[in-house]
């Protein structure tokens, strides 16, 4: 009996949706378990870092890594997994380009930490506890002082390929089970495209597979932009033509237009097509060119309708973009403190 391919699965700064999409394979999971051996998967199985370290280099056939790189711990783990794996796949939008947590790159890490731990209205933190590199705690009962060490957060969130070499990408927030399945089939059959390709999805824009594409006029010009909470879109009519900012024209297809079928415009979670240099720049280019005004004050009135353009244009892509976040992010001072309790 030939040995089954070994598969690893690791999570970094992730919401858990990617793992969920794995479970959503449902009965197809049984086929997966028959075909492969899972050797590392902290979300579901009790393998430890030492178990991975014991494996010979290059012995894991494929490792899927989801979530962005935010902590020193993530850097250490993905570097280890890169060494042990033949193929590393960035799974999901966060791992591929930074995803929604990547929007934190608009703020210095200390702004993020103080917002999260001191300022949000729902927080109750009178001792001003915040994760720091070293925390000293006095245990009165046993009269002993212990030192707790936490991995430091990086000054910005990074996509996986800024830290290690990535062989393939599986897009989506999260990837749909079908996209994951297509990718798995390609992997198991060994029919792999050139390195750096996107697996499982199309290389055509979402509009290409959108059921509303037929209703899209040849030329769209908009006098006004609408946000999803402001209107109930007319069913069966191209959302962009109705003034909703749908990013379908610049986004990779392959998801089956799930959001559109639920009457929601595309937010771009399948990321850029192959020839796009910077997803947000491309999206901006196409959106602005269909606004039907010819002078600045009128244009600005339309643009004012959207309060957060970065959040629209770069919702899943900011850390991988050309600028990468706020220019000149500062390193953290908060988490370098040594804190004592007790």
């Amino acid at each position: 009996m030939s040995e089954k391919p070994k598969v690893g699965w690791y999570w970094c700064a992730s919401c858990g949706g990617c793992e969920e999409s794995f479970v959503d394979l449902a009965e197809r999971l049984l086929t997966v378990f028959d075909a492969v051996d899972i050797v590392f998967c902290p979300v579901a199985m009790d393998f430890k870092k030492e178990d991975v370290e014991k494996l010979p280099d290059g012995s894991i056939t494929v490792t899927f890594i989801n979530g962005g790189i935010r902590l020193e711990e993530h850097v250490e783990m993905v570097k280890l997994l890169r060494r042990k794996s033949k193929i590393v796949i960035a799974y999901g939008a966060c791992s591929a380009w930074g995803g929604i947590p990547g929007l934190a790159n608009l703020y210095d890490l200390d702004e993020v930490l103080s917002r999260k731990y001191f300022e949000v209205p729902s927080i109750d933190n009178p001792d001003k506890v915040v994760p720091c590199k070293i925390t000293k705690v006095k245990l009165k009962e046993v009269d002993e002082e212990i030192e707790l060490e936490l991995p430091k957060a990086l000054p910005a969130l990074l996509p996986l390929d800024k830290v290690i070499e990535v062989d393939y990408y599986i897009p989506g927030c999260p990837p749909t089970p079908d996209v994951f399945w297509n990718a798995l089939e390609a992997l198991l059959k060994g029919e792999l495209p050139p390195k750096g390709s996107v697996l499982g999805a199309l290389n055509k824009s979402l509009c290409d597979e959108c059921p509303l594409n037929e209703t899209k006029p040849d030329k769209i010009l908009l006098k006004d932009l609408k946000r999803p909470h402001e209107v109930i879109p007319e069913e069966g009519k191209c959302l962009l033509a109705q003034g909703l900012l749908c990013l379908g024209p610049v986004t990779r297809g392959g998801c089956g237009a799930l959001c559109i079928k639920a009457n929601m415009p595309c937010t771009g979670c399948f990321g850029p097509l192959d020839n796009i240099i910077d997803y947000g720049g491309k999206a901006l280019s196409y959106i602005a060119s269909i606004i039907d005004f010819e002078d600045e004050p009128d244009l600005n009135k339309v643009y004012d309708k959207i309060p957060d353009w970065v959040g629209i244009l770069y919702r899943y892509y900011l850390p991988a973009s050309k600028i990468g976040g706020k220019a000149g992010l500062k390193k953290s001072k908060i988490q370098d403190r040594v804190v004592e309790y007790g």
């Binding site: 608009l106 720049g281 901006l284 602005a288 244009l299 957060d308 353009w309 973009s321 050309k322 220019a327």
Partner: protein
């Protein structure tokens, strides 16, 4: 580095029909302007995708100028300059949110005869960017 020594790099995307002709005219008229600009000739300001400007900043430009024919009617391709106006009006907002000073980017209309306007724009831009200093350095996040 003091601001005195700082030599800003400024990338200019100039349209073939108006601005590039004005740059030529400035040259043949022996007008003087700072050597900080790198002029890239494109067919139309409407062809200058915001991605190119982001790429320029990414590759070390301290300032970028996109320049074309006067709107609304001067464009050789009828409406390319209007498309540029729509795009770069929005682009300026994006830059601001990304922490890049608005003054580092200019959209200008310079016709083929306006060599003196070209010189003025370049002089102003170099002076402004010199005051701002180099574009904030990229952070080394992972050693």
């Amino acid at each position: 580095m003091s601001n005195e020594d700082f030599k800003p790099k400024i990338v200019v995307f100039a349209c073939n029909w108006c601005t590039y002709a004005a740059v030529d005219l400035a040259g043949t008229s022996r007008m003087q302007y700072p050597a900080n600009v790198r002029v890239i000739r494109v067919m139309c300001s409407g062809r200058v995708d915001p991605q190119f400007v982001l790429e320029a900043f990414h590759n070390g430009a301290d300032g970028v100028i996109v320049a074309g024919c006067h709107p609304p009617t001067d464009c050789h391709y009828i409406s390319g300059n209007i498309k540029a106006l729509r795009r770069y009006t929005l682009f300026k907002r994006l830059l601001k949110s990304l922490g890049i000073e608005e003054e580092r980017f200019r959209l200008e209309w310079i016709s083929a005869s306006e060599a003196s306007k070209w010189v003025k724009v370049v002089n102003e831009m170099v002076e402004t960017v010199k005051k701002l200093g180099p574009l904030k350095p990229k952070l080394e996040v992972v050693e």
